[in-house]
């Protein structure tokens, strides 16, 4: 009886020892070395894995940075301090291009269900990309937002919600400036704007006044009243709707009151 116990213990011990030794050798033979800088860089990155840099997640971008095949300016979500620390870690001297402006996305359209005409009733996939394939979308304005939420579905930060009038609302606190919504929008209605911009012209259409009024009652009609009243001369027209030069704009808000169709808005943060 006791010899049985000793024998079984011995056999199992021997088997375990042999297998353990084999594994120890294999662990040495198949070892992989990982550059410790990759983990240090990864700690500085936002960790949102949004993919705006073009790499598979933050770890993919960290690896590319350490190898040297990526630029430190590649991550639009990183703040300037983090980018500088990353440059320190990977030993890069060049700092010039690190941008200190945080960007957020803006929907350049204020034409909701009540103001914009429709050419047909659309009842297909609730996705702007699908709707655009069908005679360029149900909205009469060729440049306006379709309000079906493609931007909402691609935002990795849950920063966009749909208003009851079918226009996306962007939460400025949550928006990280990754730019995925801008790429996804099939109408190019979304643009990246500096966070400090407090006034926005919410119209994407550059049509002449008569044609514009037929499709949307809130369309910019290029009357130039905003440009005329702006004390900083920050508003310009280059063959399209009114645009604001944010280097000159002082957020005074005069253009907001002056616009006859009310397509200039003060964005949330005053």
């Amino acid at each position: 009886m006791s010899s049985n116990i000793i024998l079984s213990v011995a056999v199992l011990a021997a088997l375990g020892f042999i297998l353990g030794a084999g594994l120890a050798y294999a662990a040495r033979a198949f070892a992989i070395t990982r550059d410790p800088r990759i983990d240090a860089v990864l700690a500085e990155l936002p960790g949102a894995n949004c993919g705006a840099c073009g790499y598979p997640g933050c770890s993919g971008y960290a690896e590319a940075l350490v190898i040297g095949s990526a630029l430190i300016t590649g991550c639009p979500v990183s703040r300037k301090e983090a980018s500088e620390r990353i440059a320190d870690i990977i030993g890069q001297e060049e700092r010039m291009n690190i941008n200190s402006d945080k960007l957020i996305s803006v929907v350049k359209c204020c034409g909701n269900n009540n103001t914009s005409a429709r050419i047909f009733n659309y009842s297909g996939l609730e996705d702007c990309r699908a709707a655009t394939r069908f005679y360029d979308g149900p909205k009469k304005c060729r440049h306006g937002c379709l309000g079906m939420g493609t931007c909402i579905s691609v935002c990795p930060f849950n920063a966009i919600t749909m208003s009851p009038l079918k226009l996306p609302v962007i939460d400025r606190d949550r928006c990280a400036g990754c730019g995925l919504c801008v790429d996804a929008c099939p109408r190019q209605v979304m643009v990246m704007m500096p966070e400090r911009s407090g006034i926005q012209v919410l119209c994407n259409s550059g049509e002449a006044a008569k044609a514009a009024r037929q499709v949307c009652s809130k369309s910019c009609i290029k009357c130039h009243k905003c440009a005329n009243i702006c004390p900083a001369e920050a508003i310009f027209f280059d063959n399209g709707p009114a645009k604001i030069n944010f280097d000159l704009c002082t957020n005074c808000g005069l253009c907001v009151q002056e616009c006859p169709v009310k397509c200039i808005y003060e964005t949330n943060r005053g």
Partner: protein, 194 residues
Amino acid sequence: MDIREIMIVIISAVLINNYVLQRFLGCCPYLGVSKQLETALGMGMAVTFVMAIASAFTWIVQHYILLPLDLIFLQTIAFILVIAALVQFVELVIRKSSPTLYQALGIYLPLITTNCAVLGVAVINIRAGYGFLLSLVNGTAAAIGFTLAIILMAGIRERIELSDVPPALRGVPIALITAGLLSLAFFGFAGMVK
């Protein structure tokens, strides 16, 4: 060695008594890794390697260590020891040779260790009284059957991903229903070899 006997063992393990769809062994990695075709193929190959070598090693342990020393009661633990070491070895090799496959398999790679399909085939080999060569053949064929089943499942699941599934059934429920239907289809092979 009778070639007919080998063919029967192969066809039985792959089609008639498919380890996943008829013996319902190895369902965990089957459902967990069958979302994409490439990862399913990688998992299938890993399982094939483990099952084949495990069949060989466990046969040797049974017939040269356990039987001569009259320690049959150690069968379960000795087999598990061998299989665990093998899976750890496979994990090391995959981590070195294909980091993308390693990432894709994730948690399911170490789960091959406690996979009842691997221990199952080892014990079935002993119970059926197969010799060394036939055990090896059975182990490999069982794994090929597993690979076949998981590839079919992955192909179907990739298409289901793009379909309009009722909200209550999305994800795991429709996967289980699909597995059931696949099992039903494989039942057509029953009675093929008398």
